[in-house]
């Protein structure tokens, strides 16, 4: 089983496919769950405080807007943790955690910098492309080792 970071990081389809083929998706939802259940932090709705943009300085310089650094404080560690990645380019519009184009550019860049298996596919626009999309992802996921890494 391999930890696979997905992009868009909140995708239902990617998260489902990764799990379906026996791997662990690294997705935004679980990180948000951790955040909102952090005891003693009360900064609704996401419990992101002014500390997160500071943590984000590990991934983006201080002149990068606070919203980018705040998002990177959550996405960055997922990229660090990933053992494989699936990037869907030209995905249809995502919002919230995926709502900032600058963050998204940086996320993709940092994933591409990692020395891990990476699959990049385009978001399908037709049934044929949909098939191609699923086949590529399925084959990629099948090529990853299923046993736990030591």
């Amino acid at each position: 089983m391999v930890k696979v970071i997905i992009y868009p990081i909140n995708s239902l389809i990617l998260s489902d496919l990764v799990e379906r083929f026996g791997h662990k998706p690294l997705a935004m939802m679980e990180k948000i769950k951790e955040k909102i259940n952090t005891v003693g932090v009360d900064s609704p709705p996401l419990n992101i405080t002014s500390e997160e943009p500071k943590m984000g300085l590990k991934y983006a310089a201080v002149e990068v807007p606070a919203g980018v650094r705040g998002r990177m404080a959550i996405v960055g560690p997922m990229i660090d943790e990933a053992e494989a990645a699936i990037i869907v380019n030209d995905a249809s519009m995502a919002f919230g955690c995926m709502g900032c184009a600058r963050t998204n550019e940086l996320t993709k860049y940092l994933i591409r910098q990692r020395d891990i298996p990476i699959l990049e596919v385009d978001y399908p626009r037709s049934e044929e492309e949909g098939m191609d999309f699923v086949y590529k992802i399925a084959n990629f996921l099948k090529s990853l080792p299923l046993e736990e890494k030591q």
Partner: protein, 143 residues
Amino acid sequence: MNNEEDIITKIVVISSDSVLPIDAAMKVYESENSITIKETCFGTMVTGPRASVNRVVEEIRAMDKNHIFVKERGFSPGDERRCRAVRGGGPRPGFHYLREEVQMLPIIGKALDAYDRHIPPAEIHHKEKIDVSKLKDIIESNL
């Protein structure tokens, strides 16, 4: 965080011709009592201890495995920090993206069926932008 009581929520989106959301709900009622479910416009939210949720979700998925999709959700249903009834106004951003993805699910489901049956994928040809000289010819021939 207390891991002994690791309560999670998974959203189960049904894009099936043979299984209705109510069938999925019945499945949950039959099998587990530590789990609560909530119907939404796009699927069923299943909340409870991690192991139980995973077990139930797998059972639901097995009802039509290529046409039922699952992802974990950050907030549990009705969390006041996210609930539109409490916070007023329209839905949170994540809702809009889920709506986008749900529209794609029939295609994904079909593709998974085809993959299982080892049907080879069709060749995809992407249209390239036409050459500038070609465009020039078109313009000239049309003027």
